[in-house]
Amino acid sequence: MFTAKEFSQPKTIEEAYHILVSRRNNTVIGGSAFLRMSSKKIGTAIDLSKLELNEIKEQNEYIEIGAYATFRDIETSPLLRNHFNGVLPNAVKNIIGIQFRNIVTVGASVFSKYGFSDFITALLALDTEVELYKAGRMSLEDFLKRPFERDILTRVLIKKNQRQASYQHLRNSISDYPILNVAASNLDNHWILVVGARPQRAQIARKASKALSEHFSFDDLDQIAALAAEELAFGTNERGTANYRQAMCKVLVKRAITEVLQCK
């Protein structure tokens, strides 16, 4: 269990950042659900609940998700259910239970770049950007490649378009962590295939996405799925071996593409 010497609820993001960088072991605590499993010794635990970052808003070109929105907010948002074939609510709805999803926050999950994340896999299949207080705005893909820096994720922004998407996952039991997850999306024949929980963090299968975007017929489905499984690295942990994940990747990729093709 983590320990915290001090606790702070800053009123502004500037204040929160100032506290964060003022000491090495100061930490933004997000929902504290995953953090509680760690033995981290925190100087000042920074709680962002007073910053009004819990809204999911429709803007002109983007859907904006505040960092303090919970996974239950994502799951029940009519706005997110009505966009992208409901891929984001689908991606989070099996994470442990409602009581847990009422605590877990978007910002903490995305900022932590968890390999097992269902949410990041689905977000990466959309045209998603993140906004960090210090580093500014960047694509989610770029953010995931960057080394960890002391910063605060304030918003997730998703381009509002007609992209249709599907989220597929493999679990030992419905509320367990995923053994593997896949998201696929399509906008005007521009496909994005993402594989996560490999168990490394989610990554776009570039070659397979390109091949799918250039030409596709149902006869190519096995070939595309095999390409995605070949180009990405898979690892072994207590939930599954690398070989098992690689084999199951093909199955999930095919399911995801098929579901997207069925979207109107």
Binding site: E6, F7, S32, A33, A45, I96, I98, Q99, I103, I174
Partner: protein, 149 residues
């Protein structure tokens, strides 16, 4: 730090540590329906409501509850008893250890969902584990309690 919460309708003030969770705070003040089962955020046994939303009290920091309404089974006596009677009638109560968290979630579901389907009921309850019953008796009881047989 001192927090002030509305616990089951009554204003109370507690001294809490910065890294203390509500499950510990509430138990320390005699709220015995709140139990810790897994202590890894998986079992749902410690379910309480914060501002009417079911949450895991083993993962909710006490200090963050300042100014909020906290509800435990002690604050839902009438509804708890009604549902418990249905559980007993359906033979779906065994060791009873998981019951407080389970009952808190079922009552939250009753307030949130109108005429839920079996799929919706099962989905709402995935965060509550029971190692005795096999769930079928509980499902029968919930359907009867909600009037969605």
């Amino acid at each position: 730090m001192q927090i002030e919460i509305i616990l089951n309708g009554n204003k109370v003030t507690y001294d809490v540590k910065n890294d203390e969770f509500l499950a510990d705070t509430l138990r320390a003040h005699g709220i015995s329906s709140v139990r810790k089962g897994c202590n890894t955020t998986c079992c749902g046994l410690c379910t309480i409501w914060i501002d009417e939303k079911p949450v895991l009290s083993c993962a909710a920091l006490s200090i963050r509850a300042n100014g909020k309404r906290i509800t435990t089974m002690e604050g839902l006596q009438k509804e708890s008893e009604e549902f418990a009677q249905v559980l007993v009638a359906e033979g779906s109560e065994q060791c009873g250890f998981c019951s407080p968290g389970f009952i808190m979630t079922v009552i939250a579901m009753k307030r949130e969902l109108k005429n839920p389907t079996e799929e919706e009921i099962l989905h709402y309850l995935t965060g509550n584990l029971c190692r005795c019953t096999g769930y079928m008796g509980q499902l029968r009881a919930i359907k009867k309690y909600l009037g969605v047989m």
